[in-house]
């Protein structure tokens, strides 16, 4: 079994090595001129007024949690799609019931204008 994952392992190694090698090469060839101003937060050239950890809009959270929910829904579609032939009409109806319940939520979302960014 582990042998089947050697291509993935190669991907992981390349992905991990890429930023490390890039940073190392950049460190070797760039001139070094550290300064205090360079470490400050850059805010369009203006001196930063507040902390970065300000309060963000709750809508970010709403979008994230809705993403997770519909992500899970999509995950459930995969085993059904793989076994589509074996499950047949029964599986299709099951999936439609599953989706119908979630689409109720989706329609409700739209009716509530929950996804409107205003």
């Amino acid at each position: 079994m582990p042998r089947d994952y050697i291509p993935i392992l190669i991907f992981v190694v390349v992905a991990a090595a890429f930023p490390i090698v890039t940073l190392l090469v950049a460190k070797l060839i760039r001139p070094s001129a550290p300064g205090k101003t360079k470490l400050e937060a850059y805010e369009c050239g203006i001196a930063p007024e507040t902390d970065t950890r300000g309060r963000y809009s709750i809508r970010f959270y709403l979008v994230a949690i809705l993403f997770v929910i519909f992500d899970v829904e999509t995950i459930f579609l995969l085993p059904w799609a793989i076994q589509f032939d074996a499950l047949g009409l029964f599986g299709l109806i099951e999936m439609l019931v599953f989706l119908a319940i979630l689409i109720v939520g989706y329609v409700w979302l739209f009716r509530q204008r929950a996804l409107k960014w205003a």
Partner: protein, 177 residues
């Protein structure tokens, strides 16, 4: 040691190392990033057990979804640096108690369970090209034996949608002010 055992201990080190980094980082965002390491390790353990579908779900949902959610929650709650300096003091004794309980349980498993630290290998190794078998099995079982829990899952997701929207909705009185 078999290759499965070596991989098991590799993933165990990744999980434990990332978990320790997660709880000791002063910066909450760094904690969330280290949590990804622990979740990747768990996905690796699923792969070792031949649960490819679960490993994929682990990466897509937990790393792709839940971690993003965590990062948003961190952004939503303004955390001062000073608030993080006394992290371990208030719950110390409760934490010690819980850790001892978990340690006793784990030791009981190690002592009674087989007595070997070798990772159990599957009796019949999977033949090449059968990587999707696990997902197929999951699909079959999900739509026959666990039909009701599957449909209930959609109701659970519906409740989550409604709960998230209701909780994050700004009340009329708040928007006016």
């Amino acid at each position: 040691m078999s290759i499965d055992s070596i991989l098991f201990y590799l993933f165990a080190v990744i999980i434990l190392g990332s978990a320790i980094m997660t709880i000791t980082r002063r910066n909450v965002v760094h904690s969330a990033i280290w949590l990804i390491g622990a979740l990747v390790g768990v996905a690796g353990l699923y792969l070792l057990q031949g649960a490819e579908f679960l490993a994929g779900v682990q990466i897509i949902v937990y790393i792709g979804g839940i971690t993003v959610l965590f990062l948003f929650v961190i952004m939503l709650v303004p955390v001062r640096e000073e608030a993080l300096t006394h992290r371990f003091s208030s719950q110390k004794w409760i934490a010690v108690f819980c850790s001892v309980v978990v340690l006793v349980i784990l030791m009981a498993f190690v002592v009674h369970g087989g007595g070997s630290l070798e990772f159990p290998t599957r009796e019949a190794p999977l033949e090449p090209g059968s990587l999707t078998k696990n997902s197929e099995e999951v699909g079959y079982v999900l739509f026959s034996e666990y039909l009701l829990p599957f449909e209930l899952a959609s109701i659970l997701l519906l409740v989550a949608i409604i709960g998230a929207v209701v909780m994050s909705k700004t009340r009329k009185s708040e928007t006016e002010s």
